[in-house]
Symmetry: C2
Subunit: 585 residues, 2 copies
């Protein structure tokens, strides 16, 4: 398609490729909804006119009477790795739901495979009908010097990757304390983004006041990591665009929107961030986010604007996010405005999905990824790897532990634990305690770290994962070192994934051979497998939306307030300092 | 200022340079207004906090109790040449009124001096406290092949100039019929802009329907040339951002806003486009536009948003247009929200103006401009230059004429005129008729063109101008060829400007030696001089807001519907065709 042909098609000097007639167009510029005819030529919209205004000629005509037409949904921030599938399988799952553009931050795979991981995501998303843009991970690892992952990106690495095709932003700047405290590395990384003129994604849970001002002054453009309404309000006012999230973790629509709704003029973008396979299938994707926004009283046309044009503009994506002449022809038809029920999906002017099904299967890109290398443990796994030696042989000892709270927060707690033969007797305490061990798996030579965890409802059993944000070392939680060893070995053998054990038996295993993070199976199949292990984990007493993934955030050193580091052990994330486990010793 | 220092200042680890306390901050992100303390470090805002929240340390503190703080006003489209002063003198006039950013299209001077003219505007605006961005004129001349000016820009010329510093857009694409009709030159020029990723300014009065869709499909981003409400609505819906204008010509706030106000979500930018010196001094600048917007019932905070952030974003000016951490510290204080009375102006963190006066005089940049060359007439000026020979010696003849309408429109009219000795006897008709002659002044060798004009109320006298959009040839209107010759010669001698004559006497002359368009005098002095000639022109019976400039648009071949071309004579601008003056011959 040349621009000249497009102009001719708009003027009627050349037949349209596709004409959608009588749709109720959701105009995201004016937030009006009115009956319109929509003409597509090549990969762009050629024109929109009041329905019936012109007798338009077209190669294909679709009558959309009774339906609404909206721009394809733009997910303004997400990690495909969180859905544990390849980009192709991700596209196959979300396209029929109306998500046509995904702005992905490949920082999970980057923490395991470095630039090769970013390159894999780029190549694997190259020719998909889903429009995929990349943000370059800025915090690999999230907190350098305090944890180790499979790679370390400095400003030069990032500068290089910012020149790659389809790269539009620096990914979430999670080390927000580094930025606010003037850490030189973060300074350099953010300035590389400023120099390149790309958008800079923020990530600063609970940041307010002068510190928030400092973060904004650094040049941060948006933030999808909000925990409180007042925080959201302060970010709005500071010019940091909130990207309200509803995925498998957190619900900003419920928790943040009611507070920020009070301002006279509200502009936000929307995202899913992390969605588990089962949630995509049962709850939806961006359609769900919009539905929830409308359910909270936002005018539907405005909600669709947030889900399209606002995100596009924040990332300087010209010609994206609207059904309008010259814009890329990404569009959904819906048979309900408020329930956001998508019936037809068009991308680049192509008819992609109908009634929840792809019209053509999506081919997996033939790109190489060195998965066999991702379980690079340098020390033999032993029973001792998973024990926490008490500083006394017998008696009681004070222990600093991670106490889990709802809303994915944690705090430090000190409890007293009986000791026998030098071993902590967690079972003797009437609390849901277990051990939590992180084992380096990226070729590091230092030993594993073990702490005590409380608050997940855990009564028995072991859960091992190679998903453990953000460094994705091997994370094993349980009560019995022997079971923990068993589950860990199972993952070492299969290239990573999720393994559960109890009483000397391996009870389940989901293989995630791509970097220990992603399956090669489609979303439906993977969701089934995870359903099985979720059920087992729930049987352990684990209380979480996805019990088999309950621990994945406990190693995230940029989340409040206390987490587990593979080099530091127990770690205070606010002060960025190691915490002694036995405060009396 | 380094970014690190800015962050430190935000955190309180380094004193602010300037602290504005207790201002009612107009937050253009949320459209809230609340008491705030505003901290500036170097050329940027470091922080804004609820008033009194922090005990901030600063080198200078200003108490703004009882005042409002808004981002400095961004004029989203204007021609400095229309104010007939240098960029330095323009800055001196508009800064105290709160305009801190001017997005200028130097297409008047480009039509006279070509790239040297653009370069002059760039250099002359280099170190001003006014933030000046350039758009590159796309239509030099406006309608190639149908008129001649002092230069002709092709796509390559424009591509080159798009790489110059402070260039952010392609200037108004006035040859909208060229774009819509697929004219190759305009196609190439617009595509050069698309390739460069810059904003592309539109200019398409009265364009609606399929033609408007075609114009939008070409990649046009905004349009400041609106004539009717319905047209404005259609542009909004097509994703072309309306830039509502209120300057010396036209009032979009009165004529367009009431219609487009009906949409649920309204986003527009604001501009002045062309403002005469007297109007700046007596009516205002962007302050006046905002005042008018508020008077039409728009929420004041939203009006200030339109005057700042909306324009900045349409031009991808990051960090411009808001009082927020990290943004460039361009700000105004006002002692009335709705009257938009500016008391204090800050640019780049510097205190620039107070109570209508600059705190430091603005220095004229020492840049070269070859003004002596701008009157390059190739043929001697004679009495005959200014006559329209009738095709008969005696009797009555039908004459096609330009009939002037209010709202700067014109139409073609045919009248019957008595002829004596081969001369049209305009005086014998009871209408406000006069002759209108355009004389090439850019080195062209073709003869002058003369037509008959009606509708300006003109009864006697001659008005000669070297301002005649957009080719700026020498335009002389009057009744007596001898007077017309006299006035034209006066301008040839002084390097261009405005000259008036009657009954063999030169009655007044305003010298505009810079390209025949601009004075070297300050706005106040020039306004005085123009006031004198306006009074004389009003005495001629000319009915126009600025009588001495009443004819400047009559050569504009991209304005509806009939105009005067220096090569074609009488010209139908819709069909882009010459019109015979004597239809019976």
């Amino acid at each position: 398609m040349t621009r000249k042909e497009l102009i001719q098609a708009a003027r009627g000097e050349r037949p349209l490729d596709l004409l959608i007639r009588n749709a109720n167009l959701i105009n995201v510029f004016t937030c009006e909804i009115y009956p319109a005819d929509i003409g597509i030529y090549g990969e762009r919209f050629a024109l929109t006119l009041p329905a019936g205004d012109c007798n338009l000629e077209a190669k294909q005509i679709i009558d959309a009477s009774g339906k609404w037409a909206a721009p394809g949904f733009i997910d303004a921030h997400l990690h495909i790795e969180s859905s544990m599938v390849t980009p192709a399988n991700y596209a196959a799952a979300v396209l029929p739901l109306g998500t046509t553009t995904a702005i992905i931050d490949p920082h999970e795979i980057a923490n395991v495979l470095g630039k090769n991981g970013v390159r894999y995501m780029l190549e694997a998303s190259q020719d998909l009908p889903l429009r995929v843009y990349l943000t370059i991970p800025t915090c690999v690892p999230a907190v350098p010097g305090k944890e180790t992952s499979g790679a370390a990106f400095n400003a030069e690495d990032i500068q290089e990757m910012l020149t790659w095709e389809r790269v539009i932003a620096e990914g979430e700047v999670m080390d927000y304390w580094g930025v606010v405290n003037g850490d030189m590395r973060m300074q350099d990384i953010v300035e590389a983004g400023l120099r390149s003129g790309v958008t800079i994604q923020g990530h600063s849970p609970l940041l307010v006041g002068r510190e928030l001002n400092a973060y904004a002054a650094a040049g941060i453009d948006n933030d999808h990591e909000l925990r409180e309404g007042e925080e959201g309000l302060q970010k709005l006012r500071a010019g940091i665009l909130p990207i309200l999230k509803l995925g498998s973790f957190g619900n900003h629509i419920r928790n943040i929107l009611p507070t920020i709704q009070q301002v006279p003029f509200l502009e936000v973008a929307l995202c899913t961030d992390d969605v588990h396979p089962h949630d995509i299938l049962t709850k939806g994707h961006m359609d769900r986010v919009i539905r929830e926004v409308i359910a909270h009283g936002i005018d539907p046309a405005l909600a669709y604007r947030w889900a399209s044009l606002v995100g596009a503009r924040n990332y300087h994506l010209k010609d994206h996010g609207a059904v309008a002449p010259g814009y890329l022809a990404d569009m959904v038809l819906l048979d309900s405005l408020k329930d956001v029920h998508v019936t037809d999906v068009f991308v680049n002017g192509q008819y992609i999905a109908q009634d929840g099904h792809l019209l053509q299967p999506i081919q997996e890109a033939p790109v190489a990824i060195n998965a066999a290398n991702s379980m690079r443990l340098q020390q033999p796994l032993l029973r001792e790897t998973f024990t926490l030696q008490a500083p006394i042989d017998e008696g009681n000892v004070a222990v600093n532990i991670i106490a889990y709270e709802p809303n994915r927060l944690t705090h430090l707690e000190t409890i007293t634990v009986p000791v026998k033969n030098g071993n902590l007797q967690l079972a003797e305490i009437d609390e849901d305690l277990c051990f939590l061990t992180v084992v380096p798996r990226h070729g590091q030579t230092h030993p594993a770290q073990t702490v005590v965890l409380k608050g997940l409802g855990w009564t028995h059993g072991t859960l091992a994962l190679t998903i453990a944000h953000d460094s994705h070392n091997l994370l094993v939680a349980g009560h019995d070192p022997q079971d923990m060893l068993l589950a860990a070995k199972a993952l070492q053998d299969c290239g990573g994934g999720i393994a559960l054990a109890h009483a000397g038996k391996l009870l389940g295993c989901v293989e995630l051979p791509l970097a220990g993070l992603m399956s090669t199976k489609p979303v439906e199949k993977l969701a089934e497998e995870i359903g099985v292990v979720d059920k087992i984990a729930r049987g352990f007493g684990i209380k979480a939306t996805s019990p088999a993934l309950a621990t994945v955030g406990l190693t995230l050193l940029v989340a409040p307030h206390v987490r587990l580091s593979d080099t530091e052990g127990l770690f205070d994330t606010r002060n960025q300092k190691r915490v002694v486990i036995f405060p009396e010793f």
